[in-house]
């Protein structure tokens, strides 16, 4: 399932990384923030939307360690962020998609406004396709179900495929083997 997910996600220009542990994933994210020069300056911030992945992670220390990183996502902070980090509930192998209950507005702000979206997905949550997902996740329980497949794109000018219109121009997917509690 992972291999197909990876192939399909890469085919739509997503970056896919497989990571064994949650701690290792936090390090991976921090490295990416550093290499993208995240700082406490307009346009260089990072927002990390709250979620069960962060249970047991010392976010206060992290926020102090990385200037510009905030775990309190507001529209203004997300607007000025270079990177947004959110966790996803499901992966869909045959389209390389990520799916999450994004009823909480922070999840949407952090995954749609910044230039780079880092998406965290447990590797045991990859399903085959949309019909399989429909067995697991229903609008009865979630007011905003978001599917994300690759970065934002358009072909509206001369049908030339261009990445990064209104949403992120990079989608970095971390598929993590160490599971965590997911609500939905």
């Amino acid at each position: 399932m992972f291999d197909l997910f990876k192939t399909r996600a890469q085919a739509v220009s997503a970056e896919v990384h497989r990571l064994p542990t949650r701690n290792g994933t936090v390090d991976f994210v921090l490295n990416l923030l550093a290499s993208e020069k995240v700082a406490d300056a307009a346009g260089f911030g990072a927002v990390w939307a709250n979620g069960s992945f962060l249970t047991g992670v010392d976010t206060e220390t992290l926020a102090r360690k990385v200037p510009g990183l905030s775990f309190a996502v507001t529209r203004e902070r997300a607007k000025e962020a270079r990177i947004g980090i959110t966790q996803m509930d499901w992966g869909l192998a045959n389209t390389g998609s990520l799916v999450a209950d994004q009823t909480a507005v922070e999840q949407r702000l952090a995954s749609s406004l910044p230039w780079i979206h880092i998406a965290l997905l447990p590797s045991n949550r990859i399903l085959a396709d949309i019909p399989a997902l429909m067995q697991k996740l229903s609008p009865d329980k979630a007011a905003y179900i978001a599917f994300i497949t690759g970065p934002s794109r358009t072909a509206d000018i001369e049908r030339v495929l261009t990445i990064g219109v209104h949403g992120p121009e990079r989608l970095v997917i971390c598929v993590v083997d160490e599971p965590w509690e997911v609500n939905s």
Partner: protein
């Protein structure tokens, strides 16, 4: 056709930017769509969509009510707008009441349909389109020319000019840079806007859910950032259940843009929280605007199966020549013609319906399985019923049924054609007829009609009989094809009879909306061919074949000739096109192809009627190869040659452009022959090859193969 329409066509086909854009698009689309559908059972998918949407059309009021209740139970406000005016008024009143000054919009054809932006502007409310294509055309003050790709007609130079003006800075034509400019220019608008207006691609009744399918990410911002979200949704977007949405989510991205899934799909059920802890206001305007009338119409209710993917535009040989603006209204292409006839007035679709050549490509590719050409023909029929046929057409179409008179007139024409005819072709016609021979010579009227030639053919004694339905082209222009048919069948031990009372097949009458005239032809032919008395009825013209084999029963039902339907069905059961009959005879070892190879290279042109109405396409290829020819497939082998019966007279410019593309595809194969099943296509293609001085010979399959058994 009115002058405005003709001018629009002239401008469109004279615009190289548009021509190049559409050509690149048509070629890329076919490939990406096919790739996206790999591993998908398209027929099963069509059935799922048709079942879900068919249920909605049959139970529209009930499904609408289910949606309303479910969405309201989740906290949304649902307003069912009967008309465009009601929808506009609701949204405007809401905006004024909430003190809305600016609105951000994601792409919504429904809002284009009701000209919402102009209406809001009149009330002092600024609406800003945020979909890149929509933003471009609104800056240019234009209408979308395509449902999915609204600015497909524009070059990057034009876009650069528009953006430069908008942001007050001279920009280059670098597309990624232009896209970034749009992102920056529009980002603030999302944050400032008091209201977001979106459409929806699917509305799920059982859960009250809106599904938005997008690529750019603007719809997510439109639904998230402003405090009020209004979704304007046509009733045809409803599906009964959550799982019904899966079929549409499978088909829509694949058919629309050749994607497995778009970058973003959002399923919104009830209001969501904003970042200040309050709940958003969600209003859903379910818009009827004549959709329930369509649902009640036996023929047009199938438009509910439309998922607005625009694939009918993407494969339409006419749309791909003229683009969307020629259609003059919001919805373009095949489905657009139908929607315009309903959302505006039947009369407004008069010129639009005449653009359809009836090739059937759109019907084949439609993920809802909508008979788009059939519905366009139905519009034509209703127009003819209401307005009558123009006198000249009526006279001409009536005349075609009277073979004796046609003989006499054509004989006069034959004398008339003398000054223009040489080696069996007419290459130049004077004055207003000149357009007919500009890129294509016409065949001359035969020295003797086939029915005279036939009398002299000595046939061997045979056990079986086939009645030969010749059709007008073989009778008057190509008796040689008729001879080839007779000689081939004789070799298989079948005697050919030529019922004298047969008349025109009625295809042209039907295609022009004159169903009564067509039914008259059907009744006469059914009687003349007396299917009971023969073993086969053989047809060597794809158009005649489609009438005899496929159309007569329904045509007779539609025109109150119920009593003739059983005989029409008997006739259909015995009727074979030439290639299918020959294939059968080879299979039964009654016809034996001569041994040996290397007769040469043949490319095969699929006539629209043969391929898509009758379903004959493998048989001619099989028999051509069985007879020792090498088959070289041409690019777009099943794209219309542009003849379309009377279409070539009514829309001669478009017809000739289609022919030009066909000729190039034929030349590119390097074949010696181009074979086909239809003498109509032969008129067009043979004439085109003659005019262009080509070495390739056009042949009916019967002529090509007659000496190979």
């Amino acid at each position: 056709m009115n002058r405005k329409m003709q001018t629009a066509i002239d401008q469109a086909i004279g615009n190289p930017v548009l021509g190049n854009a559409l050509t690149r698009f048509r070629e890329a689309y076919v490939v990406s769509r096919a790739k996206a559908y790999e591993g998908i059972d398209f027929t099963a998918l069509k059935e799922q969509i048709a079942a879900a949407r068919g249920h909605v059309a049959d139970h529209l009021a009930e499904v609408t009510e289910t949606f309303k209740k479910a969405a309201e139970a989740r906290g949304a406000k649902v307003f069912v707008a009967r008309s465009a005016q009601e929808a506009r008024d609701y949204i405007t009143a809401l905006a004024r009441d909430r003190g809305v000054r600016t609105v951000v919009k994601s792409k919504s054809m429904a809002s284009e349909e009701i000209h919402l932006n102009e209406h809001l502007k009149k009330h002092g409310i600024q609406a800003c389109e945020t979909d890149l294509g929509e933003w471009i055309i609104h800056l240019a003050g234009q209408r979308p020319s395509h449902m999915v790709l609204p600015a497909i007609h524009m070059a990057k130079e034009e876009v650069s000019d528009l953006f430069s003006k908008e942001i007050g800075e001279r920009l280059s034509t670098d597309i990624p840079r232009l896209v970034k400019v749009a992102r920056n220019a529009l980002r603030e608008k999302f944050f400032e806007a008091d209201m977001g207006i979106s459409g929806a691609n699917i509305a799920i009744a059982e859960t009250g859910t809106l599904v938005l399918v997008t690529n750019e990410g603007n719809a997510r911002l439109v639904c998230t950032l402003p405090k009020i979200h209004v979704a304007l949704v046509g009733l045809e977007k409803l599906v009964p259940t959550y799982t019904d949405a899966a079929a549409i989510l499978t088909a829509l991205p694949r058919s629309a843009t050749g994607q497995l899934l778009t970058s973003y799909v959002s399923m919104i059920t009830g209001p969501t929280p904003t970042d200040d802890g309050t709940l958003k206001e969600l209003h859903i305007v379910l818009m009827d605007n004549r959709r329930s009338d369509m649902a009640r119409d036996e023929k047009f209710k199938q438009t509910f199966k439309c998922i607005r993917c625009a694939s009918c535009l993407n494969v339409c040989p006419v749309y791909l020549l003229v683009g969307g603006h020629v259609f003059g209204h919001v919805y373009t292409g095949g489905i657009g013609t139908i929607l315009t006839a309903w959302f505006n007035e039947l009369k407004t679709a008069d010129d639009l319906q005449a653009l359809c050549i009836g090739c059937g490509r759109c019907k084949e590719i439609c993920p809802g399985g909508i008979d788009i050409p059939g519905l366009i023909l139905e519009i034509r029929r209703r127009l003819v019923e209401k307005e009558g046929l123009p006198f000249v057409y009526k006279a001409g179409l009536t005349l075609m049924k009277n073979r004796g008179l046609v003989h006499k007139l054509l004989w006069a024409a034959k004398l008339g054609q003398k000054p223009f005819a040489r080696d069996g072709y007419i290459r130049h016609l004077p004055l207003f007829l000149a357009g007919l021979t500009e890129h294509r010579s016409l065949p001359t009227i035969a020295r003797e009609p086939f029915s005279e030639v036939f009398k002299r053919i000595a046939q061997p004694a045979c056990k079986e009989k086939a009645a030969f339905f010749t059709g007008c082209s073989i009778e008057f222009a190509f008796p040689r094809i008729g001879e080839a048919v007779v000689r081939t069948l004789n070799k298989a031990g079948i005697e050919v009879v030529l019922p004298a009372a047969q008349t025109c097949c009625g295809t042209a009458q039907r295609a022009n909306g004159a169903f009564d005239l067509a039914a008259g032809c059907a009744v006469d032919n059914i009687k003349a061919l007396a299917a009971d008395t023969v073993d086969y009825v053989v047809v060597a013209c794809a158009s005649c074949m489609s009438s005899l084999k496929k159309e007569y029963p329904q045509l007779l039902k539609d025109t109150n000739h119920q009593d003739c339907v059983p005989d029409a069905e008997k006739l259909a059961a015995k009727t074979y096109d030439f290639s299918s009959l020959v294939k059968k005879l080879i299979h039964e070892k009654r016809l034996t192809p001569k041994t040996g190879h290397g007769h040469g290279k043949v490319t095969y042109h699929d006539s629209c009627h043969a391929r898509r109405l009758v379903g004959t396409w493998r048989e001619p290829r099989d028999i051509i190869q069985a007879c020792g020819y090498e088959l070289a497939e041409m690019y777009e082998c099943d794209t219309c040659c542009g003849l379309g019966g009377t279409y070539t007279v009514k829309q001669s410019d478009l017809s000739m452009r289609m022919l030009k593309r066909k000729l190039k595809n034929i030349e590119d194969t390097g074949a010696q022959y181009v074979a086909m099943e239809c003498p109509g296509c032969l008129v067009q293609i043979d004439g085109g090859l003659d005019q262009s001085g080509s070495k390739i010979k056009a042949r009916h399959v019967a002529e090509l193969l007659v000496d190979q058994f």
